[in-house]
């Protein structure tokens, strides 16, 4: 489906988001194809029962852990990467043997409709259904009893999903967002760092990505150099007039456009713009915009930006950036650009986030051996690679005992000898076990 209908997918993404073909290819089609191929290759291995070691406490016995499907699962995806964020969990759910209902986002209508048409054509309809719609349809879906719900989107709607899930004691995975910080040290290869920040921010759906760099933190001394490097590379990437560049996505709709312009135009924030700031409501375009030292209590620093605005906060010393980050809720990703090994260590040790990436942005998403998910406000549960399979599986413990063999002294009537033997067996010390056995047999 992904191979044969690549053009249809790219066209839909362009219609919904003005997503450049190359972005669409890398971030949606290629990644999803890779996940499919991995699942096909590894499926046998993932499905195999795992032997579990047994101990004195259950001797003699053998044990294993089996993966079994949960049943009928609901996947609710979002609009910024409509194909990736729908299909990646669907791959996991199907690989794990479940039946699936997919509810794509109505905010990307062309993609939603292409998803429905293609999935119905290519995949077994009796096991996978796509249900399109908006709030009404989603609410109706949430009233049903599911064996698992997988939700990607905002914390606000995540809570609504949890309320519905609580009724049926349904486990959920919530892939939310957060303000993903980027700490930039002066000890760094600046042109490369700037390129990677720009690629992660504006090169990925124009900042409308859950793991996009939300804001930068650097030292007061280094900030001017950083801004210059960003300015230079932005020119290289998108040219003199980024509003006209074909290589950058637009803002998805008027609601978000208005939300973003409000963030930019807030009192005490609008005068901090050092680059960009242009907007065109008709074409839903906002140019790459950098702001320096906005107030910490401004709206732009309180909510997840999800757009092409990049605030830079400055601190006296780089270590101060950790307190700035830790004063906010845990993000989905945290980034750090540095060559200093101590800084790298401190960063990993002192910051909690869903995932972390040193000296790059976004790409940890592509590593299928790393779980992708949040912590705290950025979500619960994880997926990608085998983690997707596990996310939609129940790991059933199976213990095999026989009716032969010595009976354990655990039955009444209780005697001191039995209690002694129990102590020894649970304590695991062979010598004590032998002593207690002798004592019990003497009884």
């Amino acid at each position: 489906m992904l191979e044969e209908r690549e053009r249809d997918i790219i066209k839909a993404l362009h219609k919904d988001l003005s997503k450049p073909e190359f972005e669409a290819f890398i971030s949606e089609i290629s990644m999803t194809k890779g996940s499919c191929k991995l699942a096909i290759k590894e499926l046998n291995h993932w499905m195999r029962p795992q032997k579990a070691k047994t101990s004195m406490a259950t001797f003699p016995s053998s044990a294993e852990i089996l993966s079994e499907p949960l049943g009928v699962v609901l996947i609710i995806s979002t609009w910024n990467y409509p194909f990736l964020l729908s299909l990646e969990p669907v791959i996991g759910a199907l690989a794990a043997g479940n039946a699936v209902v997919l509810k794509p986002s109505e905010i990307a209508p062309a993609s939603s409709s292409v998803l429905k048409e293609l999935l119905e054509e290519y995949v077994d309809n009796s096991a996978l259904r796509v249900i399109e719609g908006a709030v009404t349809e989603t609410s109706a879906l949430l009233e049903q009893k599911w064996d698992k719900i997988f939700y990607t989107g905002s914390g606000r709607v995540g809570r609504i999903v949890m309320v519905a899930a609580a009724k049926h004691l349904t486990p959920v995975i919530l892939e939310l967002g957060g303000k993903c910080p980027v700490v930039v040290d002066s000890n760094v290869n600046l042109p490369v760092a700037a390129k990677r920040i720009i690629a992660g921010k504006w090169g990925c759906n124009n900042g409308q990505t859950c793991i996009a760099p939300d804001y930068l933190i650097t030292t007061k001394a280094f900030a001017p150099k950083l801004i210059d490097a960003l300015r230079y590379e932005l020119l290289e990437f998108f040219g003199e007039n980024p509003m006209e560049s074909e290589d950058i996505s637009r803002i998805v709709n008027l609601y978000h456009f208005t939300r973003l312009t409000k963030l930019m135009d807030e009192d005490k924030v609008s005068d901090k713009v050092v680059l960009g700031g242009q907007r065109n409501e008709n074409r839903l375009k906002i140019s790459p915009t950098i702001l320096l030292d906005v107030p910490e209590d401004s709206l732009i620093m309180k909510e997840e930006i999800f757009g092409p605005l990049l605030p830079i906060l400055t601190v006296e010393n780089l270590e101060d950036s950790f307190a700035v980050i830790n004063s906010r809720s845990k993000p989905l990703a945290a980034y750090c650009f540095t060559n200093n090994e101590e800084v790298k260590k401190d960063f990993v040790r002192n910051i909690s986030a869903g995932g972390m990436l040193i000296n790059d942005t976004i790409v940890h998403l592509t590593v299928s051996t790393l779980p992708f998910g949040g912590v705290g406000e950025s979500g619960m549960g994880s997926y990608h690679g085998k983690f997707s399979f596990d996310a939609f599986s129940h790991k059933k413990a199976v213990l095999y005992r026989t009716l032969q063999g010595e009976t354990y002294p655990r039955f009444p009537p209780y005697t001191a000898g039995k209690l002694g033997l129990l102590r020894a067996l649970l304590g695991g010390n062979t010598f004590h076990i032998i002593l207690s056995l002798i004592r019990w047999l003497k009884d």
Binding site: A57, S61, V163, L357, T369, L370, L399, P413
Partner: protein, 486 residues
């Protein structure tokens, strides 16, 4: 009330401060707390026995077997494996992001709440506590007020032995529970009923707190028609011990009901009666080897189960009740009505219904048509039946030819599915349940960069990217040098 609320906030504030200063992340702190738990279990053993006797009428041997002994085993296991669990794990790295290193770094979640149940008041508080401490969190335990002597001993001994600034026991009833749930937790671990589980889950929504729910269900025991006398004897012993010898049937993984073939049932009933007498004596109330019913509410609930029409007449053994002493005799029933409350709700008491089927394979459909239980038991030598049970039913766990012991297995995840809950613990699973596995990717700083990653986009870059994603490095090189067209 205001005073209580303020105290509570003060306590939680202290815990958060302890966590933020980083002390609990150190291996030394975690190890010291686990060792302190070991000392607690050894030195306070008599107090624990007394409390369990007082609240539940539990015999020392049962208390040791099911609570203290199992906990000692679990703490030992955690101490032996702590270093390993705490260390980062390397993750395999695909070539797409070469050169880099990738690893999974376990980190604590922060401030966690453990709400435990009354039937194994020490076991169900301390088993998750082991995982929470090993994972480096600060902890509040809210033990059940229905076992007040145990709650009190738990509180005083943890206060004495463990770091008070990192682990607290907060006692109280429903209102204290509700107040606790209003606060922000980084994880809530709940053992108890589905009804309260929903309340906990609803409270967790405000702060998007992840939850583990260890609930219950009707755990069936499929008892095949065994032929050898020895097999039948062992099976009967294990069934009786599990049902009546484990908190008088008030256990989430106790056998709720039996499924047996009609032709085997009378033989089975005889054996069960025989071993009930052998294990608990002619007059079980006098032998002190069976626990009591926890309180009047549950006693009356169980009494009502027996009084429904057609249930009373299906009793084949036992059935006597002593309200003053909260004692119910081990009771066996054969084929009570399937729509009786006894057969629709979790029994959680010493009443053992046997449902008969024509062929044992029918038990599979019977189990499938009911909510998923925490455990399924099967006594059989039939390998085909075992295979079918595993693949055609779903439950937290399956144990063949025994009962309850899976609780003691450190390498098996302990938890439910569907109506019996979600999440799991025991052994390393306890550590994991209170851990965030943080993905860390470190790119090695390159002298050059892959220039075709970046806009402005053109066909050549796309072509190169496509090769790179296929790991077609030769093609990539040739195309980059212009020696090959796509």
């Amino acid at each position: 009330m205001e005073g209580v609320k303020k105290d509570l906030e003060g306590e939680l504030e202290e815990l958060r401060e302890t966590y933020n200063c980083g002390k609990t992340k150190e291996e030394t702190w975690r190890r010291s707390q686990l060792k302190a738990l070991l000392n607690l279990l050894k030195e306070k053993e008599d107090d624990i026995f007394k409390a369990l006797k007082q609240d539940l009428g539990k015999h020392q041997a049962e208390a040791y077997r099911d609570e203290i002994g199992t906990l000692v085993k679990s703490v030992d296991y955690a101490l032996a494996n702590l270093k390993k669990w705490m260390s980062s794990k390397k993750a395999g790295l695909p070539l797409a992001v070469f050169p880099s290193t990738a690893e999974l770094v376990p980190e604590p979640l922060g401030l966690v709440l453990i709400i435990s149940s009354w039937n194994l008041p020490f076991g169900l508080s301390i088993e998750p506590l082991i995982g929470a401490i090993a994972a480096g969190n600060v902890v509040v335990i809210k033990p059940s007020e229905l076992a007040p002597a145990c709650a009190s001993i738990l509180a005083t001994s943890i206060h004495t032995y463990l770091d008070n600034r990192g682990v607290k026991v907060i006692q109280g009833g429903i209102s204290v529970g509700q107040q606790l749930l209003q606060h922000k937790w980084d994880k809530i671990f709940f053992t108890g009923s589905a009804h309260v589980g929903r309340i906990v889950l609803s409270a967790a929504i405000k702060h998007l707190t992840p939850v583990t729910l260890e609930l219950g269900g009707k755990c069936p025991a499929v008892v095949d028609s065994l032929s050898s006398t020895w097999d039948k004897e062992i099976a009967a012993k294990r069934i009786i011990s599990a049902k009546f010898g484990t908190c008088a049937g008030q256990a989430c993984i106790g056998i709720d009901y039996i499924l047996a073939e009609k032709r085997f049932t009378s033989n089975l009933v005889e054996l069960l009666k025989l071993y009930t007498k052998k294990m608990f004596g002619e007059n079980p109330k006098e032998t002190n080897s069976i626990a009591r019913i926890i309180n009047k509410t549950n006693f009356l609930r169980l009494k009502n189960l027996l009084e429904e029409p057609m249930v009373k007449t299906s009793i084949v053994h036992g059935g006597s009740l002593d309200e003053d002493n909260l004692f119910i005799e081990p009771t066996i029933l054969v084929d009570p009505p399937l729509n009786s409350t006894l057969m629709t709700e979790e029994i959680f008491g010493p009443l053992l219904p046997i449902i008969t089927v024509d062929k044992i394979e029918e038990s599979i459909d019977f189990i499938k048509s009911r909510p998923k239980a925490l455990a399924i038991y099967a006594f059989t030598c039939n390998e085909t039946l075992k295979g079918r049970l595993i693949s055609e039913t779903s439950s937290g766990s399956v144990t063949f030819n025994d009962t309850i012991v899976q609780y003691a297995a450190d390498s098996l995840p302990f938890g439910g599915v569907g109506g019996s809950g979600f999440g799991r613990y025991h052994g390393k699973f306890s550590f994991d349940t209170f851990t965030h596995e943080k993905a860390v990717l470190k790119r090695i700083d390159l002298l050059f960069d892959i220039w075709f990653r970046y806009p402005p986009w053109n066909d050549k870059k796309l072509m190169l990217l496509k090769s790179a994603y296929k790991f077609d490095y030769l093609g990539l090189l040739l195309k980059a040098l212009g020696l090959k067209k796509s």
